[in-house]
């Protein structure tokens, strides 16, 4: 009985830790960027090419992870309330009216972090586990 209970507990623990490890994103800017917090709408506006500037007026350029990456889908669901299909429809109308292109894509959270660290005008989202002191996680308020 206690053995069975132990097994179930272990299974549950593994399941929970699995969920916790299912990549959580953080929104980052360069450590040299003075910003500490932005609203989800402000972040979304930059990634959707509706605004080319940070709050405060500095030029902003967004970076993306590849299409189909779970972190990317999760990011747009959270900040822009858009599923991958809605994001595809959004960029379809921007691209085919010559109004804009999706952010540049880099292959991994580490590659994105390196790029943001070197460029104070950039903003991106990465896996929380890839965070280090070269970049700054900003607080995203609802």
């Amino acid at each position: 009985m206690s053995k069975l209970f132990f097994r179930w507990s272990l299974a549950l623990l593994l399941l929970c830790s699995g969920a916790a490890h299912a990549a959580e994103f953080v929104v980052i800017v360069s450590a040299r960027n003075p910003l500490n917090a932005m609203s989800a709408d402000q972040v979304a506006a930059i990634f959707l090419a509706q605004n080319g500037r940070f709050p405060g007026g500095a030029e902003a350029q967004a970076l993306d992870l590849p299409v189909g990456s779970p972190l990317r889908d999760d990011f747009y669901r959270s900040v822009a309330a858009r599923t991958p299909a809605l994001m595809k429809a959004y960029w379809t109308k921007m691209v085919f009216t010559g109004r804009g292109h999706p952010p540049r894509e880099l292959v991994s959270s580490v590659a994105v972090r390196r790029m943001v660290a070197d460029n104070p005008g950039m903003i991106a989202y990465i896996d929380k586990s890839a965070l280090d002191a070269s970049v700054k996680a900003i607080q995203v308020t609802p």
Partner: protein
Amino acid sequence: MILDFAPERAAMATLMMLSCCAALAGNATDSEAPGAAPRWTLGGFGTLAAVHSNNDQADFTAHALSPGAAGYSRAWSAQVDSRVGAQLDVRFNSQWSAVLQLLSERGLRGTYRPVVEWANLQYQATPDLSLRVGRITLPLFLAGDYRKVGYALPWVRPPVEVYGAIPLSSSDGVDASYRWQAGATNNVTQVFYGRTDIPATPGARARSHGLTGLSNTTTSGALTVRASLLRAQLSVDVARQLFDGLRGFGAQGESLAQRYELENKRSFVAAAGFSYDPGQWFVMGEAGRMNTDSHLGDKTVGYLSAGYRHRDLTPYLVYSSSHANVATSVAGLELSGLPAPQAAAGAALNAGLNQLLAAIPRQHTISAGVRWDLRPGYAFKLQYDRITPHQGSSGTFINVQPGFRSGQPVAVLSAALDFVF
């Protein structure tokens, strides 16, 4: 004279623009480290669709300028909404870029010869101000500039009463877009100036000059609002024989011809629309008014639509209508006292004029459909439309036969597969 290019020459003009730009880009000292070489992007979109109409006395069409026809010409038609487009984007540096979009759909002569939908050179003067020269699609209504990209639309096609209402779709000229912020809103204000010269019927062209427009799009979270204005001197050379005939009847004929002929008439379109889309569902609506001071009439059009997203399925509803602000039947020439042969000719002209005016749509449509996002880049849609032209109007239908009865609802069924690549 870029303002003067014809569709046939536009591709060549763009190629010339591209090579000029390449030269410019070569000389520019571009500080942007990545992308020093021009970046080329090729993309495309398309729709494969079949449409059925249960009325064999007139043809259902999505837009008078690409008259795919279901109903009278054939019960099922693949030509109403099917099309394919390809777009080449070239980015020379952080400031200069160019777009060329070719579109193949059923044209007025029944062929699928590709036409240049977009062809322009863009200069990003500041991060917020961009200037373009060349051909742009008119940013009228919420979806006016991407109405042919089915994948970007929730429906099979935009409501016909609203998006089919003007015989213009693009402007050859210049435009400027300025992106600005006010409080929590993001705005894009676009002004454009240009001209148009496109085929309007197999034998006639639609021409406009002094095409001047203003469009403003405001986005705040899930809410998007767009207002647009356009004015132009418009000429569409249709029913030439009818107006020449009327002129044969002296002053009264001359006055009717001047009133209804679409020859260098001051025309305007004003429209406002909103979309609220928090993700799980959407609601959107638009209203517009257009007056061409001619037989195309003065119309008030609008629609309201809502949909709900459940996994990959998005069922939706649309109500749309077109209201005529002018008489759609007139007495025409006064024929009493004329000799019999002349009176008969006059009566025929009066009938012709009234047939033209009956095409000013008095119509409403209820549509229900579902969009299925079956895989990334593909959407399948089924839509049912119940279209009711009324008060003697033949609505948005074309090829109207004598047996057509206004007031009788027409059922239209559509299936479409949209894709982007």
